[in-house]
Symmetry: C2
Subunit: 355 residues, 2 copies
DNA sequence: CTGTTAGCGCTTTCAC
DNA sequence: GTGAAAGCGCTAACAG
């Protein structure tokens, strides 16, 4: 048997290695199974033969026996948002560090969510990470019902008990309010969206309540349609056409802030703008670009990813544990958007007195 | 057997469905196998039972028999580049449309490339799509040697014969030169990187040779370190400190162009800047942001993805065919960066005579 | 069209 | 520590 099947490349299997090394299939299997009992001698032989023949364990086959595919689904939406990208990249890396493989499923709205679920289930994924904006309730329910480990990133509590990892949105709003206050702002506005997601909502509420605590009772709202660049622009237009005199603005995400700032920047000579202080959330790469140089509440994606994967693995190893909720700290990154003047067309380096 | 294994959720298998529906396992299998011969009657029964029991085909198991995992590896680097993201998103979508599942592997430089290969091989991927900047020669060789279908995106020809899909870099450079020339530029510069990738190199060469054909013998080079925002900034600084009078600039990628423009924008009052015409390549979302409004050679990622997947599938169905090379058309998207004046602080809407 | 029979490549008791 | 044997869940080849 196994002579050939009109295929030029025949897959080399564990039995080939076994033969070549003069041992049993089991020996081969054990060599490639972490902490299995093999004598150093046989192990050596097996490894040598394996290398020689170019053998690789077939994870698809092994998953059949040990029921661990090591595949992890990442369900993501709004992939244009730079912060989402950072998340996905960090997650992908962290998963691979743990020898897990990310299957990236990009969803738009609540699209063919059932197809997505179907796919994940067909592949017996070891877990699912959901980082889409619109929390697909149905996915949660189905996964939990089927006992598929799942972690929600920055999502609200859902009906079913499921693990969640959150950035501290409360603190984000609070830090933002404090920073604006500390830099002298006494009239505040917030830039958010028409239908903010959970995180944005919490940040907003926290900001407002902290403003209130600081004695600032009124916070003006500007709203983009979506949480994106265009949304920020629209909010900027609203500010421009309003007659309020705003000193400090909290953009609930950097992405919004970019559009907001650019919108303001495009109309030169508005006297109120150069005094405007802005703070936002996330710390996407653009925030540190000199042209924006945006003070922002950093949400560290590396730490986020580490915690997400850690929670996921705990769930995998103990499926029946109570659902965990992990809230990660955030920190203010102070840049020039909350300094003396918001430079609109000045270089950031070299103080240049306003002409 | 199969009574229970202290697990609350027992996986429902094809034999369960078979029993429930009163048919054989084969019948179940056939029902879920495209164009297999099942009577409408049994099919119905099976589907009903399956739905009732919540049965899902186990692709991992089936791949063992039919040798098709439908998993496709996407090897990507430089994931901060918005164009890369667009590509990945488009690929992910297109793969899923074809019922293939993308495993996203983010690599940095030539990192642990062998680990990456190992992973892909262990999962018996149906194919690999490589869209990283640094073409990992070793991956190509190994995949080809092992008969794993592979498609290179925007990569140079490698030693081994492998399918490639390219955007028309020749034409990109040519269109850029022509556009700058047509809008009146007679002194040209190019913004690229220290060690440009294949695409960037071809664009550059094509631009230069087309300039030459137009009678412009000298093209000044500004180079960023990497192909990113900071690279563009550095190129901008080079222009600023040079004493050449440049009229038209070709940035070999939008990402570079963003940094380049922002760098120029940050120094107000440079008289030569407002007359500067800029054209670049890719058409990332930012290119159409009003603050940039960048004329660019669009590289359509949707069409790209369609072609990549199509080529991949052909390779899968005919492994021994000759390696294909597909070159996709590109088009100029004309925006205000090649119109009358490059507005640096004016709004894009409403013609406003230069004061 | 349908059921029976062999495996796919691997892991894992179970004796030795 | 090691090998034999029994599957994991599924599909494909073969009779019927």
């Amino acid at each position: 048997m196994t002579t050939d099947k009109t295929r030029s490349y025949r897959k080399v299997t564990s039995v080939d290695v076994a033969k070549h090394a003069g041992v049993s299939r089991s020996a081969v299997s054990r060599t490639f199974t972490p902490n299995a009992s093999v004598s150093a001698d046989t192990r050596e032989k097996v490894l040598k033969s394996a290398a020689q023949l170019g053998y690789r364990v077939n994870k698809l086959a092994s998953s059949l026996t040990n029921n661990r595919s090591d595949l992890v689904g990442i369900v993501a939406s709004n992939i244009d948002n730079p912060f989402r990208i950072k998340q996905i990249e960090a997650l992908s890396r962290e998963l691979m560090r743990h020898n897990l493989k990310p299957i990236l499923l990009v969803v738009e709205g609540s699209e063919d969510l059932s197809r997505i679920i179907g796919m994940l289930l067909e592949y017996n994924v070891s877990g699912v990470i959901v980082t889409s904006d619109t929390p697909p309730q149905s996915i949660c329910e189905e996964c939990v019902a089927l006992g598929v480990p799942m972690v929600l990133v920055n999502k609200a509590q859902s009906n079913v008990a499921v693990d969640r990892v959150l950035l501290d949105n409360e603190k984000s709003g609070q830090l933002a309010a404090q920073e604006l206050y500390d830099t002298g702002c006494r009239t505040m506005a917030i830039v958010t969206t028409e239908q903010p997601s959970y995180s944005l909502r919490v940040r907003t509420e926290s900001f407002v309540s902290h403003c209130d605590a600081l004695g600032i009772k009124k916070v003006t709202f500007f709203r983009g349609e979506q949480q994106d660049y265009q949304g920020g622009q629209r909010a900027g237009q609203q500010l421009q056409s309003s007659h309020e005199s705003i000193q400090g603005v909290f953009c609930v995400s950097d992405y919004l802030a970019l559009g907001f700032m650019d919108q303001l920047r495009m109309v030169a000579g508005n006297p109120s703008l150069s005094a405007l202080k802005i703070v936002s959330c996330d710390d996407i790469p653009q925030a540190s670009w000199p042209i924006y140089d945006l003070s922002t509440i950093r949400q560290d994606t590396t730490i986020l990813a580490q915690n997400v994967v850690s929670v996921l693995q705990q769930r995998i190893s103990n499926p029946s544990a109570a659902a965990a909720v992990k809230i990660l700290d955030v920190t203010l990154v102070k840049r020039s958007s909350t300094r003396k003047n918001l430079r609109l067309e000045q270089p950031s380096q070299g103080p240049r007195s306003s002409s």
